[in-house]
Symmetry: C2
Subunit: 231 residues, 2 copies
DNA sequence: GAGCTAATACTCGATTTCGAGTAATCGAGA
DNA sequence: TCTCGATTACTCGAAATCGAGTATTAGCTC
């Protein structure tokens, strides 16, 4: 069984909403948007109704009443149960107190970076930087505005945290692009040469690995000694 | 239809592996582990066979041969197709060049931080810090070791990037915990008071919101003016 | 009062996902 | 040579996921 009976982060947001007062699913979705919680939690509205059912099935929420206004579809109003409140607190405790292994897509990309020619890699890293830096600028402006209107920081720490991560990403990517461009990155020369051999002479990476000394010089003799399980 | 015909990051890793030479699924899984790619890409071995089938169905890989060694189960060896190579390069290009909105679990937690008493929040943030800082230390040591053995940096940039993110997380969480502890965080005083009222007098947050001036003083009059759609 | 757009309030089912299970074989030690 | 745990290699189905679609109504304009 999964660690949580209902594991989708949207379920966490639903419990958070219903902790305030009873609501019907559609109201929950508008509330989440209005509060900007959809900026910090991935809210997929297609999953909302399945998640509400799952929460009800496991006794975290219960139907309070079913109302009909005019000729509109029926709306079931749900309220949180004691078990639901406990689940929410437990979940919140876990989210704050326990780091969980995240896999950033850029990590996956970097793990296969030699799969692109170095110049192309630099180009793409710079393309990413443009978008990331624009977002940093936008968020910074928003934060300044919230500070100016004295909207208490406790209500937007999640946004501050996101900004901190974006700034770290920007700084790292900036530095990496620079180091590739100037061949200051260890292995960059070899990387450049491997792509040159492939593009100009059609020598595939597999062939290159068979005789690294021939293609890259004596200092790459070690490559033969290391089996395919490099690293 | 989804952006990618096979969207699981593991499919990206499978294409990356088969780009090197033909392999059978189980060999792919051991290769990914041996290369440490499972550190940068979420590899769920339960999904491996479904993903390989999906890749084959869409023409990104094809069965090369089916071999049987001794009485072992049959193993189908797959090779990448031209379409598969194109898909891999396109995917890699996207991973490197285009930021995608990530939802860090801590962001979700911070968005509901007032749901915990301030002192408990500090406690949990510090608990997280202990784990994160231990990991930072471990990774730093590993990086030093790789530098010492002259293992080229280009082969571990993904690890450097992860370290950069962890360091940013640590710095932010450290600062936040400190600011809550010292009430330097905007709104922290109100947050503390709200929990005190609730724990000592049983006044629920909902009741408090109805008459903020009474509970928090004149400077919180604005809270009444802002409807539930705060922020 | 006709027509249009935006908002409201869901529903559906094709895929995808993944944990847990299975079963064979290998190798090390007793 | 017997056993037992580790490794090899894969299967299955229950549950989750999510985009895309639908139908109604409110409110606005002309």
């Amino acid at each position: 069984m999964a660690r949580r009976k209902v594991g989708n982060p949207l379920a966490f947001a639903v419990l958070g909403c219903l902790g305030e007062r009873p609501m019907h699913p559609y109201e929950i979705s508008t509330m989440l948007k209005a509060r900007g919680k959809d900026q910090s939690i991935k809210v997929n509205y297609g999953s909302l109704y399945s998640i509400v059912s799952a929460l009800e099935k496991h006794g975290f929420i219960e139907a309070l009443e079913t109302v009909r206004e005019g000729n509109r579809p029926e709306r079931t109003v749900y309220q949180i149960t004691a078990a639901g409140e406990a689940e929410f607190t437990d979940w919140l405790t876990e989210l704050v107190g326990t780091p969980s292994r995240e896999f950033h897509p850029l990590e996956a990309g970097l793990a296969y970076l030699p799969g692109l020619p170095p110049d192309r890699a630099v180009e793409l890293l710079e393309q990413r930087l443009a978008v990331v830096d624009a977002e940093i600028k936008e968020m910074t402006a928003l934060h300044e505005q919230m500070t100016a209107t004295e909207f208490p920081r406790i209500f937007w720490v999640e946004s501050e945290f996101r900004l901190a991560l974006l700034e770290a990403e920007s700084a790292y990517v900036h530095q990496l692009a620079e180091e590739i461009r100037t061949d200051a990155l260890g292995g960059a020369v070899y990387w450049r040469q491997a792509w040159k051999l492939f593009l100009e002479k059609g020598i595939t990476p597999a062939e290159q690995l068979k005789d690294p000394v021939k293609y890259f010089g004596q200092e790459f003799a070690w490559m033969k000694t290391i089996p395919p399980e490099a690293q």
